[in-house]
Amino acid sequence: MKKDFDIIVVGAGHAGVEAAWISAQMKKKVLLITQTVDQIAQMSCNPAIGGLAKSHLVKEIDILGGLMGVAADRTGIQFKTLNLSKGPAVWALRVQSDKKRYSAFVRSKLENHKNIDILQDEVLDLVIKDNECKGVKTEINGIVHCKKVIICSGTFLKAVIHIGKKQIPSGRLGEKSSYALSKHMQKHGFEVGRLKTGTPPRIAGYSINFEGMDIHGSDKHIIPFSFRHNKAFLKQTPCYVTNTTKETHSIIGSNLDKTALFSGQIKGTGPRYCPSIEDKVFRFKEKISHRLFLEPEGLDTNEFYINGFSSSLPVNIQKKALHTVPGMENAHFVRPAYAIEYDYFPAYQIKLDLETRKIKSLYFAGQINGTSGYEEAAAQGLMAAINAVLKIDGKESFILQRNEAYIGVLIDDLITKDIREPYRMFTSLAEYRLELRHDNADSRLLRFAKKYKLLKRSEIKYLESRLKNIDELLEFCGKKKIKMSDLNAMLKGLGEKLSGEGLKIEKFLKRPEVSIDMLLNNSVMNFPEKYSYYELKQAETLIKYEGYIARQQDMIDRFKKNEKIKLSQDLDYSEFKGLKNEAVEKLNRIKPVSIGQASRIAGISPADISVILVNMKSKGLL
């Protein structure tokens, strides 16, 4: 290829498309290479974006100029807010998207961007000179040069699909696995590991008897992912719920030896949060039934995704077992469930900006770093690309902290905790959860979007005015009082009577059992009209959490203190007196950037940290 590119993105899954998109938005010339152009932004597993903790990531991606939130909204056929009975810090949106339309939407966004070229080819090797990556070597187009390479290989490296004893070299059912790249990367000195994941069968809708099944429809009031949207764009379609039976379990239980996993054929580590149906039957024998969700794959297809029935059993046993589930007696398997094993590169080999330690100008994002999930992949693709662009421009890298974003937690966990199973985002992994809400991604991240020009000017202006309105509202609620008569009228239902001179809105909202909706529905309070419902709810959340957020702030301050004690990347911990060999090995491998990060490394004890500090002091580094 003649043309030189700034950035080459290898792989067009959820990490790859975000990487290509944001690089192009940041005015870099991008080449996106995929083995199959028709599979751009393919949802390989479930037809949904978001969910608990993952929706936090999507919201953050949205504020940082990414595509995922917009694409999910535009192609969403069911919107559901989860955890509504709990507090807003753990609310989460899950959107069922039309798979085909999702892919088509993203593809057209990329195709129509003047800075992006798309190429169907396979990358076989990297062009490396003096430990720096200068381009890629492809199967058809030969060598292509560039300044930075971002690898987003998904599950395709040395991928093998397992269905019972059957093994098919394939990155997604029906798609070619990639052998050369992984082999060459090892040659370049990267440690490779093996992970496993799985997917349930897809069943023809006409063969399912939906009668008697629970129906889960969209929310009445849809709140989409992207701040740009306030409604759904497509026809809304429900999911269905059925349950496995005793017979299902007995069929699975008596065929455990036939699964690829239990027979030992699979060597890779699988995700514990997403077990196969046989795993569930085996490990939780006391549970007589497991719930299955039937999720539509799209509006134009009849295929249903059977959430909860992932398996590596032989297809005839899968069929036999699923046929014992109410409504599935005649289920026709369009595609079987399967397990898939693939290569990944344990993430201690990258830095917090996602560039590899070993080879400059080479970035890893997505499943190659050991994560699972579309959202986790997208977040990394976005961050890797922003950092690659910043590096080209000679600017400092963009690292999100654990108290700033789930994305920060995700990347820090990956590198620091030396995780050896597919990593998924959970809200419990974020220590400062009350700060990191899915509804305040803008207040946390807007300054970065502004700094790096990740959003349009008009969008930034809109978000800024929204934040300003919330500030004003907080002031309003701290001043304005609710009349006692109104208050008692509202609280009647709660069997309570107050006396006195009225109550400030702020005080009222602090009570756990009340909401701002009570004020609105009873027309007790006339908030100035310019404030949107979203802004009112935001103010409410801030008021409700105030005391706890303040306490969490203490913890954040302590956390920041340790993050501020920087550790140089040139330190050789074997020169540190008194450190255990195991600690030396870990510290030299992960090269933490701060005492804070060092303290989070698995196996580094508080005593080790004191030893590091003492050594730093004696070396005059503190």
């Binding site: 989860l82 490990r283 719930r291 419990s428 009350l434 008194g578 450190l579 255990k580 004890s605 005593a607």
Partner: protein, 436 residues
């Protein structure tokens, strides 16, 4: 740098032990010895019988053991020299060693500090070593060795595990709300918090006894002037430690002495008799007496049987009727008859003191914590758990209850080491059927 110091007690003894620790210890120490083996031939953990020489001059015949890095007390490369237990030999050996540029005198506690720093023991155990070295009674010895064995750390780990389980239950409902799981009702969660609090409180209450195991029982001798408080002190000690006269107000300062009874250390404080006086020195003594009385575990109210006082003291008090050789009195069960002059009743009194303060045999329980740092951390943990319980009862959601729980875990972590979010998630995966 190699550190060196006498590791056994100073003074004359059968054998004295000098310990060295640091990089190149073996190579450096070998220079002083007549060992024939070359450096690479040295066998670890073996006793070598050899001469200790200073620039060729014979100092003593010693045995020496060498320890490999990671296998020594400090965790560093080390040596221990066993010499004859004469202060002069010890001095000569240490002087010879300190001449070496590489070697300096170890500071007090430095070997143990190194052991802690090298991850060979946790903070709780390191604190125990200090206590062990300072132990002055069987009880103190037992409590510090138990702590050293890791007994307390183990117990605290159990509490930590309880809190992790609680966190997991709360987190489960947040992170896996869409799973087909039975979530734990609130009253069951607060019940579990109560259990955790109860367990921690046992430790907090155990402090009283733990402290007595470690520091002994504080006994205050009080009473009017000239009732025989100082005579009683001397009777306890079986010596004429304290000046005794017939002049009222002889004892002007607080005098502390120690005796051991049933394995417990009794720290006896003879106080100035409390009375109105113009004497500045005596007044200062009296105010010190008042402080001692407040801090004492038990107060011995010494009464002159020939002229019994009507005064009453608050707190844990035994009335001790002295001079019963001169006049007999009728007493209740909180009183003892003694005669300092004849020695009658003194043994009975000693045992009554121990029985009164710590009503049991010399049996150590793991929850007898003795360290005030531990006490304060546990108290703080309890208050955060109570706060979590209150949040639940107020109807707060899990995500804010968890802020309280997280603080409790962080606080406890100051003794047990940090709990990471990953520990909680791992516990969830281990205990619940996750994954649709």
């Amino acid at each position: 740098m190699i550190i060196a110091a006498l590791a056994s007690a100073p003074g004359k003894a059968g054998i004295s032990v000098i310990r060295l620790s640091g990089n190149d210890t073996i190579k450096t120490v070998k220079e002083y010895l007549s060992i024939e083996e070359k450096l690479h031939e040295i066998v670890y953990n073996k006793l070598y019988l050899t001469d200790f020489l200073n620039e060729g001059e014979f100092i003593d015949q010693v045995t020496v053991a060498f320890f490999k890095e990671g296998h020594s007390y400090t965790g560093e490369e080390s040596a221990e020299i066993f010499c004859h237990g004469s202060p002069i030999i010890v001095r000569k050996i240490l002087e010879a060693l300190y001449l070496e540029k590489n070697i300096r005198e170890a500071k007090p506690g430095e070997f143990t500090e190194k052991r802690f720093m090298n991850g060979k023991m946790d903070l709780v155990q390191a604190e125990a070593v200090i206590d062990l070295i300072n132990s002055e009674s069987d009880a103190a010895y037992i409590s510090s060795t138990e702590q050293l064995k890791g007994g307390l750390s183990e117990e605290l780990k159990k509490i930590n595990a309880m809190l992790i389980e609680l966190m997991s239950i709360l987190e489960l409902e947040l992170d896996f709300a869409d799973e087909d799981l039975d979530f734990t009702p609130n009253d069951e969660i607060t019940g579990k918090i109560d259990i955790a609090v109860e367990v921690i409180n046992k430790f907090i209450q155990g402090y009283q006894k733990g402290r007595i195991f470690r520091d002994g029982i504080k006994v205050a001798l009080v009473g009017d002037v000239n009732v025989g408080k100082s005579s009683l002190m001397n009777a306890f000690l079986k010596s004429d430690r304290v000046i005794v006269t017939d002049i009222a107000g002889t004892t002007r300062d607080v005098i502390e002495e120690k005796i051991e009874v049933n394995g417990y250390l009794l720290r006896i404080f003879d106080t100035a008799g409390i009375r109105e006086t113009e004497d500045i020195i005596e007044n200062e003594g009296i105010s010190r007496s008042r402080r001692i009385i407040e801090e004492a575990d038990i107060v011995l109210h010494v009464i002159d049987s020939t002229d019994p006082s009507e005064d009453e003291y608050a707190g844990n008090v035994i009335k001790v009727y002295n001079k019963t050789d001169l006049e007999d009195v009728i007493i209740d069960e909180n009183s003892v008859k003694i005669s300092c002059k004849t020695g009658s009743g003194i043994e009975e009194l000693k045992h009554k003191i121990v029985k009164n303060v710590i009503d049991e045999e010399l049996t150590y329980r793991p929850y007898y914590i003795s360290n005030v740092r531990h006490l304060n951390i546990l108290k703080e943990t309890v208050s955060q758990l109570e706060q979590a319980k209150m949040s639940i009862q107020q109807g707060q959601n899990n995500e804010v209850v968890i802020v309280d729980m997280r603080q409790a875990l962080d606080t406890l972590g100051e003794i047990t080491g940090e709990t990471t979010s990953m520990d909680i998630i791992n516990n969830i995966f281990g205990s619940f059927c996750i994954g649709k």
